[in-house]
Symmetry: C2
Subunit: 419 residues, 2 copies
Amino acid sequence: MADLKKYVLEKCERAQIAARRMAVADTATKNSALLAMADAIGSQADRIKTENAKDLEVGRDKGLSDALIDRLRLDDKGILGMQDALSEIAEQPDPVGAIEGMVTRPTGIDVGKMRVPVGVVGIIYESRPNVTADAAALCLKSGNACILRGGSEAIHSNVVLAEVLSQAGTDAGLPENAVQLIDITDRETVTHLAQAEGLVDLIIPRGGEGLIRAVVDAATIPVIKHFSGNCHVYIDADADLKKADDIAFNAKVQRPGVCNAAETLLIHNAVAQEVIGSLFPKMREAGVELRGCARTCAIDAQCAQAIEEDWDTEYLDLILAVKIVDTMDDAVDHITKHGSKHTDAIVTQDYTTSRRFVASVDSSSVMVNASTRFSDGGVYGLGAEIGISTDKLHARGPMGAADLTTYKWVVFGDGAIRE
Amino acid sequence: MADLKKYVLEKCERAQIAARRMAVADTATKNSALLAMADAIGSQADRIKTENAKDLEVGRDKGLSDALIDRLRLDDKGILGMQDALSEIAEQPDPVGAIEGMVTRPTGIDVGKMRVPVGVVGIIYESRPNVTADAAALCLKSGNACILRGGSEAIHSNVVLAEVLSQAGTDAGLPENAVQLIDITDRETVTHLAQAEGLVDLIIPRGGEGLIRAVVDAATIPVIKHFSGNCHVYIDADADLKKADDIAFNAKVQRPGVCNAAETLLIHNAVAQEVIGSLFPKMREAGVELRGCARTCAIDAQCAQAIEEDWDTEYLDLILAVKIVDTMDDAVDHITKHGSKHTDAIVTQDYTTSRRFVASVDSSSVMVNASTRFSDGGVYGLGAEIGISTDKLHARGPMGAADLTTYKWVVFGDGAIRE
């Protein structure tokens, strides 16, 4: 529809103007605006909850699952969570403005790389309305303007949140239109946003694989994406088996529905008997369904036979695929072939093996003697995260405010010309 | 053609295997391989020149322009240039392996970002055969495998160069297939390479805008591109007019056919009369055609009237568009509207103005009192450059070996699990 395209592109044009002003906004103004936004969410909590109740009601009428309703809900804890995120982001260092690697060159110029905002960032997300606050805060902190396109289920919540955040921001001195919401949730608006070449600099989709594929397929501008988390734990021949037990169990069971939970366990044959004997009963007690390779099943008769598809599946559930390997290289080969470059861990006490695993596994996070569940922006110290990238360029793994910046070369001369 | 696709994808698969080995190649092996490649080019210079002569002959028969023939030619100076680039790249620090920002987190893990190669890099280029050596060297230095797809005009030169480089590399201990050439120059091979999802991590096209557009349109994998260089020099009210004269002249005249040459001159009205009086005669003497806004033409009657299109044109020639503006903000607005985010310079003695210009202009290089002609990997200290990016993500402006790396998060625990 021409009208929808115009509607989206006008927002993008306003965002471009806002982005130029955001790029020169000083740190104090940005931080006080973030704190003012936290306050505003608190003082307008009742209004936010009232609007959120409308989304919940529509959701229930539509027959949304309890899990989805739960994601939609903004109760007092949810309000407080958004306020905390805003304050935390305010407290982080400003990622913009630092000049790295400044050198004086033989030609007499000084040259370095200055951290600058990306520009206009489009965030496309699904049902969680708290993303509206998190994403806006991270974009503003990093000097960007943002265009938010949330899901239809959360539209009442998103509209009020965007209004409260935007008003508090401009009252505190941020430019108009630094935070805009696309409040028409027709699918077509996603396409127009993802094709706004020259107006939007980056798109970050947050949600299920279906949403992300749709955005990537439509986009003509850069997208940083998170596809899937098929994470592995490899228990090496030289593993401390107590650590191995703890890590494998934690990686699978502590929160199985998230992307950094382990989906496949690889065990070196030298320790397979012992690991399986100790770990499988605990896993079963926690409700984990085990699917093993032929050698695993030979050790553990109760174990179901894994099929080829299991190695490629992100269960997001209490299911674990298990394979016995003969060498660390076989484990790395398996991860290379079946992994999703998200997070993979080795359990070993051998120094050289740990170094080789870290060098060989091409994933956004590679861990030694630690649970894959640590792969998270908060845990890594980024504060709130804008997403987890499974891409290889620009940003990998958990992304914070600094990952919403790029650089420009700055050159200072004193009348310097090229000979 | 299914056969061509198979031919390209088989190279990509071999490159994937090579990339995994390159990622763990040590610095000494990589550097001695680069030096061995430089030696091999010297010892095989006659063979290289013989093959190059075939390209020149075919080119002349085809009626290629003198400029194109010149780009194709590998004489002794060209051979030496490739050898120098290889040695220089060998001497650079290894961009791979450093761990940045390692911190111990409250959860007991140590976490940091390790610089790692991108993986498999595809370089698609036109007639200059020296790109074969430069691109291979930069990819190997940064621990990547590369697939080179040069133009048909240089095919004999590229085949012999790729063979010499590859042989010298493997003799010195690099993995097989770390450097591969696509020696079928059918256009379709470009498409297959640019769509080799999961096998190629990055495509860098080098050449004219037509080639780059074609690659971008075909690609389903990330492309870092260099579209155009519509560079500006802005002479501020507070400029030192001697510096202004020198910089504007140098930026336009010193080498007009390259992307970092200036195409538009913006002059503050307070100094327009004086600048035009002094600069225009010199420009004309150097053969520069001047096309001015109405106010410029009012000062200089000889000046041709610029049309709207002039502000958007990368002349790559001795033509300069000239516009008088009333404020620095107007200059920035003009650059924002018409520039290509490549390189833009201000000439001013005013401290605050210089800082505001640097903060406000969103280009890959922003310069103060220096000629736009400095925007170059060699000048910036990167050694050889793999290209100049006009993208905003991952890498901006001149790209060296370090820009062919990314990072992975590394996490070290001692049995750490998430509570």
